[in-house]
């Protein structure tokens, strides 16, 4: 198993947060309709990941990485802060499962989340080298920030019963 050394620091990424590091880390997260974008710099061998719940910040509340447009721009900024140039970065995109029964307001939220990643990364000129989005099931992903390898496990549970303690009526991450 590539990059699963026992002593590699692990980090679970909560929805609405971002993590990027120069050091080797295994970042894991659970995704339903949420999307995680992994950015990796093959030259400096460093990477970062975000985990957003909704596509666009509409001015309501704080502009946190709960929103894709905020989360992706900030992740790119983080990578640049770590010394990666944008031209070198490659992206991998995961999540955006179809979550049913979350009311009309959340209709196709997964698909919209995934589309936003494709659109915004395209705008930044960052190629998507791999992606696994959509479908009815949640995912668990583990990203090695040094090797850039992402392991994706399909969860046999549907996206809305992810074990992340989300109350009814709130979209799964």
């Amino acid at each position: 198993m590539n990059g699963l050394a026992i002593d590699t620091p692990r980090r679970f990424l909560t929805p609405c947060t971002i993590f990027a590091s120069k050091e080797e880390h295994l970042i894991s997260t659970l995704l339903g309709s949420c999307v995680a974008v992994c950015l990796w710099d093959p030259v400096k061998q460093q990477g970062g990941m975000n985990h957003y719940m909704l596509p666009l910040w509409n001015g309501d509340g704080l502009p946190t990485p709960k929103f894709g447009n905020v989360a992706i721009d900030q992740l790119i900024q983080r990578m640049q802060n770590l010394g990666s140039s944008k031209e070198r970065l490659i992206a991998k995109v995961f999540g955006g499962a179809n979550v049913l029964d979350t009311g009309p307001g959340h209709f196709q939220i997964g698909e919209r989340n995934a589309m936003l990643a494709q659109e915004l990364l395209g705008k930044h000129g960052i190629p998507i080298k791999a992606q696994d989005v959509g479908g009815p099931f949640g995912r668990k992903i583990i990203f090695n920030t040094q090797t850039g390898v992402v392991m994706v496990g399909k969860l046999s549970k549907s996206a809305e019963e992810l074990p992340n303690g989300r109350p009814r009526g709130v979209p799964a991450p």
């Binding site: 198993m1 894991s28 509340g61 080298k129 791999a130 994706v152 989300r166």
Partner: protein
């Protein structure tokens, strides 16, 4: 002069009942390089015009059945034929006839017997005019569509500009608020420190000063924690740190930290203590800040002498926190606005209160981070009740592969879509 398009000759429709004249004109026009289509009657002419779309029409006035004037009238009534220039052919035209021809939309006339040089010049002129007209129309279409694009873009820019201005105004409003929020307690603390330095004070006064300094400093600390928390949330660096928290003690600490503010307004904080020690896995510091913001908000918008209520309970395995006040209340429209950044409602009483307008948006974002949510139940004049639900927190699981059940996919850097 604008040359006709190379490779295709311009097409002239000749409507003339006399065979001999048609022959003459056909060979004359053919020599000039035009392609000629012919009709012997007005009806045939109209049909041909519709079918072949000539660039110019030579129209005899003295036609059997439909005469030239009627044909011209009909041509001008058809939208896509209207633009084709019509030249009348006639033996002798009275001034009234000429006038009528022009009124019907003809561009020119040629009288018989034909002066071929003159005829050639007239035809060339009108074809050139027609070409120029068409080019102008095409350019106009392009310009119009460019203009439309520009208008769309412009309205987008205006939109964006407005949003930027809004955001800018919000930010400067925020800075002005923050200056107040920081200056007021700082000035109070400085003045009291000076008093301490300058004079020997009675133990009572010392105690009083210590109390005020403590109150002002806690307020400052609270405001700054909100600002830093907002920055952390916006940077995606705020992570829940889950411990088994004793909720009762969080409630008491929150009530304590705001008792100074409450006392100044003579507002009673009613603490509905959970019956047993209530232990719930959550982020204690974030829960504290959520409650502190809601309580501060309740106190701020309560008139003097009223009371606010703080209550915690477990419901459906979730922690429910209620903050109730007897304050001015919030209208339904305003309820949609209160969680926006730096927003304070511009209504009567609230004008006097200059909070940084950050507290509720921080509260909402914190709850979202913890997977919870907040609801407001309020009517103007009826007080407000903010109710938060926080699900059981799980410590970031550090497990590697255990959660995978079967299908595993590897995406390394050589992967192409």
């Amino acid at each position: 002069m604008i040359a006709p398009p190379r490779g295709e000759s311009e097409k002239i429709l000749l409507i003339e009942d006399m065979e001999i004249l048609r022959q003459t004109l056909r060979s004359f026009l053919g020599d000039l390089g035009y392609s000629v289509i012919e009709a012997a009657s007005g009806e045939d002419g109209l049909e041909l015009a519709q079918k072949d779309h000539p660039d110019l029409i030579l129209l005899d006035i003295g036609l059997p059945a439909l005469d030239g004037f009627q044909v011209c009238e009909r041509l001008k009534a058809v939208p896509n034929l209207r633009e084709i220039p019509v030249l009348f052919l006639s033996g002798n035209l009275s001034t009234a006839d000429k006038l009528r021809a022009f009124q019907l939309g003809a561009v020119d006339y040629v009288t018989k017997p034909f002066q071929f040089d003159e005829m050639e010049a007239r035809i060339r002129t009108h074809l050139t005019l027609q070409r120029q007209k068409r080019m102008l129309q095409e350019k106009q279409t392009v310009l119009l569509s460019a203009l439309f694009d520009a208008k769309v873009l412009n309205s987008k820019l205006i939109d964006m500009n407005e949003r930027l201005r809004d955001s800018e105004a919000m930010k400067s409003g925020f800075i002005a608020h923050m200056r107040n929020e920081i200056n007021n307690p700082l000035n109070a603390i400085l003045a009291l420190a000076e008093e301490l330095l300058r004079s020997v004070l009675s133990p009572e006064r010392l105690r009083q000063i210590a109390g005020i300094i403590h109150g002002e400093a806690s307020h400052l600390d609270f405001q700054l924690r909100n600002v830093f928390c907002a920055a952390e949330l916006e940077a995606g660096e705020a992570t829940p740190f889950i411990t088994n928290a004793e909720i009762g003690s969080i409630l008491r600490n929150v009530a304590d930290s705001l008792s100074h503010v409450a006392q100044m307004k003579d507002i009673q904080i009613r603490l509905i203590d959970p019956p047993d020690p209530l232990v719930f896995p959550t982020d204690a510091a974030k829960t504290h800040l959520i409650l502190e913001n809601l309580l501060a908000n309740a106190i701020e918008f309560s008139p003097q002498g009223k009371s606010v209520e703080l209550c915690a309970r477990i419901q459906d395995d979730e922690l429910v926190l209620d903050v109730k006040d007897e304050g001015i209340g919030i209208s339904a429209e305003d309820q949609a606005l209160i969680f926006k950044r730096f927003r304070q409602l511009d209504t009567g009483l609230t004008r006097a209160h200059m909070g940084p307008g950050l507290g509720l948006s921080v509260t909402k974002a914190l709850l979202e981070l913890m997977g919870g949510e907040i609801a407001v139940d309020s009517e103007p004049g009826q007080g407000s009740r903010f109710s938060c639900r926080i699900p059981r927190g799980q410590n970031p699981e550090t497990s590697g592969m255990e959660a995978f059940d079967g299908n595993l996919f590897l995406f390394d850097d050589t992967e192409e879509m």
